[in-house]
């Protein structure tokens, strides 16, 4: 029973105590500006959500993966067994593989947002550099991770990796350092350890990244206008993020139930296997290697130069404006870099198992550079003045719809929850009859709906007074 006069319940008191004692009370005072609520600003946060999902599903897979080649490719068999015979193994591996792909994709989109809006400007240069390092570490970890499956794609990836290392100066020394004797019995445990180790380094890089964002705050709008604080971080924005995380987890679960994670052909010595293609994020580099120029040049030197220019861009870029149309060098170079990456990716993807003629590749890349260079120069020919501070319009635009939704918010949340509970009930029935694919599918969709129910309930509970 609550005492008369005390308005706070014990849960609220406990939460307040927790926030105070963990030293997080600073977060309760943070107010999120409007421009940071744009979906474009969610890529980084979603990518770090992927990291947590990867860590969690990775730990579970670690209990079932056998890092040995043995007589008959035990590693592959353990992965197949986990995917096909362990209950919900396909969900765990599916979330791991989809989250890895999505993490790299979202990191790239996050990078594009930061780069083209000039968010790396002083004092955030190091945040940007560490972000690029984190992106490279995640690609390295993904490469090591998909080599662990030991299907025909992984074996080819390992072979190409070994080959590239041997081509480097001091290659033999480095080779035995990374691969041991190079037999699969030694490569697999090493790759497993390195996969986790690189992921650990990535975690440290991410923590540094978060710390710096916290220290410097989020970058102001790129068009030069004043940031306009809108809603508090705690609890309003935190709960939005919780709902988004739930919806994402549900989506990944549904996806891995409908499209279970791929597993190629089993690799055994002496059997001919189809040619594997590398993952999409390495395809551009692979296309360069396929032109027949020196593999170290194509796979290491050229990408490194391209990236190094991106890394030093905060110091090259002028400081007077962050608008992409006012930064000729950065915008033009960024356009060319992205264009070459996409064109080489497509070229590599469309020519599986074939060589790319060097002349064609040269002509194509030069043409892309010229066209995009021209576009970049044209786009940046007219300086854009900083945006004037907007006067707050009196709220009138979507107010009617919002009013209707707010009035019925409990209703919508309730309906979503009932739908979700019915689906979840079906899911539990499938689960009890050991029909795990249907169960995962139903649970996944139910979790998506519950995420939306959370969001709706949260809008009614904490956002009402901030809405028009």
């Amino acid at each position: 029973m609550q005492r008369a006069g005390s308005e706070e319940s014990c849960i609220k008191k406990f939460v307040r105590w927790l926030i105070e004692r963990t030293g997080a009370s600073e977060f309760t005072k943070t107010i999120i500006p409007r421009h940071a609520l744009h979906p474009m600003y969610s890529f980084g946060g979603l990518a770090s959500l992927m990291f947590f999902l990867l860590a969690f599903t990775g730990i579970i897979q670690l209990m079932f993966y056998v890092p040995a080649f043995g007589e008959e490719n035990i590693a592959y068999e353990s992965v197949r067994h986990f995917t096909e015979s362990v209950p919900y193994g396909f969900v765990v591996r599916g979330i791991h593989s989809y989250a890895a792909t999505l993490m790299i994709l979202l990191s790239m989109l996050h990078f594009l947002r930061v780069y083209f809006t000039g968010a790396y400007a002083k004092p955030r240069e190091l945040t940007y550099v560490i972000g690029i390092v984190a992106g490279l570490l995640s690609i390295a970890s993904a490469f090591l991770g998909y080599s662990l499956r030991m299907d025909h794609i992984s074996v080819e990836a390992i072979r190409i990796g070994q080959f590239l290392v041997l081509q480097l100066p001091g290659g033999n020394w480095l080779y035995s350092l990374i691969f041991g004797s190079g037999s699969f019995d030694e490569v697999i445990p090493r790759f497993l350890a390195l996969h986790i180790g690189v992921a650990g380094l990535l975690a440290i890089a991410l923590l540094l990244h978060f710390y710096m964002i916290h220290a410097h705050h989020i970058s102001p709008p790129y068009d030069g206008s004043e940031p306009e604080p809108v809603i508090p971080f705690y609890p309003n924005f935190l709960l939005t993020e919780l709902a988004a995380a739930v919806v994402t987890i549900g989506t990944l679960m549904t996806l891995s139930a409908v499209f279970p994670p791929e597993l190629g052909f089993k690799f055994v010595f002496g059997e001919e296997l189809p040619v594997g293609q590398p993952e999409w994020y390495l395809m551009a580099m692979y296309a360069l290697i396929k032109t027949g120029i020196d593999p170290v040049l194509a796979g290491l030197v050229i990408p490194s130069i391209g990236l190094l220019i991106l890394v030093i861009m905060p110091w090259v870029d002028p400081l007077y404006s962050r608008h992409p149309m006012n930064r000729r060098i950065a915008t033009t170079y960024g356009l060319i870099f992205v264009g070459e990456y996409i064109v080489l990716f497509l070229y590599g993807q469309l020519t599986p198992g074939e060589q790319i003629p060097l002349l064609n590749a040269l002509l194509l890349t030069i043409a892309v550079a010229l066209v995009l260079g021209y576009v970049g120069v044209r786009l940046t020919s007219k300086p854009i003045p900083p945006k004037k501070i907007q006067k707050q319009q009196s709220g009138n635009s979507p107010s009617y719809a919002v009013r209707v939704i707010l009035k019925n918010v409990w209703w919508i949340a309730c309906l979503l929850l009932v739908f979700a509970l019915v689906l979840g009930g079906f899911g539990i029935m499938s689960h009890l009859s050991e029909n795990y694919y249907d169960a995962a599918l139903l649970f996944g969709i139910s979790i998506i709906l519950m995420g939306w129910s959370l969001f709706t309930a949260k809008v009614g509970l904490v956002d009402a007074k901030y809405l028009v």
Binding site: L37, P39, G70, G424
Partner: protein, 223 residues
């Protein structure tokens, strides 16, 4: 009760229809993400700082306890639906085992000459890399067609199967009379291992062979 169960099993059977189902669910996911983004966009557009609209507070306040209950129930539902699969996996999951090779040198016998018809190949693994370091090096033994055998003076030749371009596995293609790398169409001469066409430049390292009086072929090491 029975009718409901029957209905449910029918529903589940309908859900289990594969292809259409996959398409439908993909569409559903796209819709969820798309509509979600649109709703979110309107939501952030209608946020006003320091607005503190008392009407809105009133609109929601009388349902406040109800909303808290929905929120808590939803959270509980999510936790249950994530925990149920996880516990099942951890309780019922099993692991595979297999024979693990001791890592010693395997007997270098590859095959008997009667097992390999002319103009064909057989794959084997050498326990040493061409530079002498221990490893697992795929190699290929070729029984040359008669005309080539007469030209070189030996019937059996063996090479490393690792393409000198990027390390893919080459194999003997009898219709083209060459060792072929499928990754980027590299060709090697089966009589001496030299690169004929395609991206590879360096020749394939040759394996030293010994054929005893029984016709068994042994890999002695690298030439």
């Amino acid at each position: 009760m029975n009718i409901i169960r029957c209905l449910l099993t029918n529903l589940l059977a309908a859900v289990s229809l594969t292809n259409l189902k996959s398409l439908g669910i993909l569409l559903f996911l796209v819709l969820v993400v798309g509509i979600g983004t649109i709703i979110y966009y309107f939501y952030i557009k209608s946020l006003k700082p320091k607005h503190n609209n008392p009407d809105n507070n009133e609109r929601v306040n009388n349902r406040r306890n109800f909303l808290v209950k929905i929120f808590a129930l939803t959270l509980a539902g999510i936790v249950v639906q994530l925990l149920l699969p996880l516990l099942e996996l951890l309780r019922k999951g099993t692991i595979v085992t297999g024979e693990i090779s001791s890592g010693q040198e395997t007997p270098p016998k590859i095959a008997n000459i009667t097992e390999i018809p002319p103009d064909s190949q057989i794959s084997f693994v050498l326990r040493r890399n061409p530079d002498g370091s221990p490893g697992q090096h795929p190699a290929v033994l070729i029984h040359l067609p008669e005309d080539k055998a007469a030209l070189v003076g030996k019937e059996f030749v063996a090479y490393s199967a690792v393409c000198t371009h990027l390390g893919c596995i080459v194999s003997y293609k009898s219709e083209e009379d060459a060792l072929f790398c499928p990754c980027h169409a590299g060709y090697f001469d089966p009589t001496n291992g030299k690169a004929i066409s395609g991206p590879p430049k360096k020749p394939l390292p040759e394996v030293k062979l010994r054929i005893d009086e029984n016709g068994d072929i042994y890999a002695e090491g690298w030439v």
